[in-house]
Assembly symmetry: C2
DNA sequence: GACGTCGATGTGCACGTTCACATCGAAGGT
DNA sequence: ACCTTCGATGTGAACGTGCACATCGACGTC
């Protein structure tokens, strides 16, 4: 084959050096953009690299620098629109900065499942971690067996042992609820996410705040699992005693399931019941009725998470300042409360 | 700190060896499950590894074996339900087999964008590649600069230079179209995916086959971009001359957009127009009307892709035999063709 | 009882890169 | 003219692991 690469092996830095008639160290310097290299020498080395089709060996580099240039992503429900979008954004941003991304999905939400996923990432020698499915349990595991690398969570956890993006979910949820209140609704139910989830908790808090501010009666929230199927199920249950005129669902999927159940029960959305979702998934505006929801920029969150993490890796203790506040998008699934007050429970 | 690890460095195989009073090679053998190790020795080594909290150094291992234990995933639109689900399944399956996954998203579908993503994966020294967004262009790039590793595409491409899963999209699409024909529809439009996509092409072929078999007039297919927004746009365009009674959309998102447009245009689905989608995304059964579609198991596809790839990596030239045939799921968006024949075009 | 076989373990080197240090000539200050 | 500084490059070692080969004792065979 190629006479320059003696064996069947891929060309190394030394092969390049031989061809360019320099030392292997000079080649290394060219690779790492060392300042004191004569342009002429650099050109010669680069030419040699090209004729040999040289590719740096990442493993060798990682071995000696003990830096893997890899960041880990710990995800749950990576299939849903929000997380999937953030993950894609994280990968793009990481690649742009010369980093690699390794994703581990949490199989079940048991501590073992979380630990397994984490272990997988640690074996990969990640330099930093993005937690994209922030469940309280994940942070418990993280606290009990510290990973030894900086990590960022996509949602603020209120803990100070790591960085967190400040997407202000509380305000987003509060605005959604406020919107319903402004339309004259007095009996509002919250279909929340799983209790363990930090996002779910934040959205619930926003809901509770708004209800409290308006001094309305509190309906006990329903804890769901983010899925449209659960939304449908919850909707059917809710219909058994119709003591509400509006529902704020913690995500769009559940909201869509809800509307399905209400329709099946012969009710009109928004005529009889108003529904608000959260996330603004792409189909939200195309379902019937078009879903009023809270827009959240998942791509931006992913990008910021990477920026924050890389900053930290470079030693700059940058704390996230600027908050992202999600935006209410009013569509057809909300309307003024019907004049006939619903029968109150008991 | 720990007296066994002389410097601040992580414990190595030699530190373990010293503590267990064996040679470093014996430790290596324990790590690699070598047969001839006395159980007693093995236990001693394992104990030493635990007290030292030893983690094998992946970079060193990769360097010496020149195997990265990493497979690459080349994806486009990784945000959509189908690809996202497959990617998650691929990661899970790979992890189960002790492999790592590195995903690169194709930024734009230009040859450079594809080459960039590929380059990123090659730098990572992947051992195999799963192409999850099979566009013709991707295979052209792959052919023009061969990657040197085996690769699997999630959809059959009809080319023989690599492995492909045989999800029989053609049959799936044919069944969807047949379903419309059986309901008495004679004027059926196909809202296809982007021309470049292999899946889109397969689904279109299935559609054309069914139309041909039934000897119906062919409406020129519309080429979309998979998005619900495009579906809506296409729907509005289609309404300008209502010369059809049914539409088969190449995915659910576009189908949902279509239904939105038809509703806006004052038409009833399925009373006036029937709509069929493809994929069976989770919200498909919850939109109004519940969407008739073709179910496809994206998780299974992902799993199989990994199995196929790993088989190949282990030298077994296994060809995919068993075909997965997607299943038609009939719901509320399709009904018998209205009796009044639509006005035919010119 | 000498010899081959095999199980269990040890020794040294190689993988491709970067780091610390060395070298050497030219430029610049006195 | 001498010493210092600095730019440009080279030399050797180290990173942590696996492989090829060596060693050594036990066992079975003729």
């Amino acid at each position: 084959m190629n006479p320059d690469s003696p064996k069947g092996r891929a060309p190394s830095i030394r092969d390049v050096a031989r061809l360019a008639e320099v030392s292997h160290q000079t080649v290394s310097r060219v690779l790492n953009d060392h300042p004191s290299i004569r342009p002429e020498t650099r050109d010669r080395v680069i030419a040699a690299m090209e004729t040999l089709q040289y590719r740096p060996n990442r493993a060798a580099r990682a071995l000696v620098t003990s830096r893997s240039h890899t960041i880990g992503v710990l995800a749950a429900t990576s299939t849903e629109y929000g997380p999937a979008t953030s993950i894609a954004a994280i990968e793009d941003a990481a690649r742009e900065h010369g980093y690699y991304v390794n994703t581990a999905n949490i199989a079940d939400s048991s501590p073992e499942g979380i630990a397994d996923a984490l272990e997988h990432l640690m074996l990969q020698a990640i330099e930093g971690l993005v937690v994209i499915a922030p469940q309280v349990r994940v942070f418990e595991v993280l606290a009990s067996s510290p990973v030894g690398v900086p990590f960022v969570s996509l949602q603020s956890t209120g803990r100070s042992d790591h960085l967190a993006l400040s997407v202000d979910q509380v305000t987003g949820a509060r605005r959604a609820t406020q919107h319903l209140i402004n339309l004259g609704h007095r009996e509002i139910v919250h279909l929340a996410g799983p209790q363990d989830w930090i996002e779910a908790e934040a959205r619930m808090r926003g809901f509770l705040d708004a209800i409290g501010d308006a001094e309305l009666d509190l309906h006990p929230p329903i804890l769901g699992d983010w899925s449209a199927d659960f939304g449908y199920f919850a909707g059917r249950e809710l219909l058994r005693h119709r003591d509400f005129t509006a529902v704020f669902a913690a995500n769009d999927q559940m909201a869509i399931g809800l509307m399905h159940a209400f329709r099946d029960g012969g009710l009109d959305v928004p005529g009889d019941i108003s529904v608000v979702g959260f996330d603004d998934i792409p189909v939200a505006q195309h379902v019937w009725p078009p879903l009023t929801t809270v827009y959240q920029d998942h791509r931006e969150s992913g990008r910021r998470a990477v920026a924050l993490l890389l900053n930290q890796l470079q030693g700059e203790r940058l704390l996230e300042v600027e908050q992202i506040v999600p935006r209410l998008v009013v569509r057809g699934s909300t309307a003024e409360a019907p004049v006939s007050k619903p029968v109150t429970r008991a």
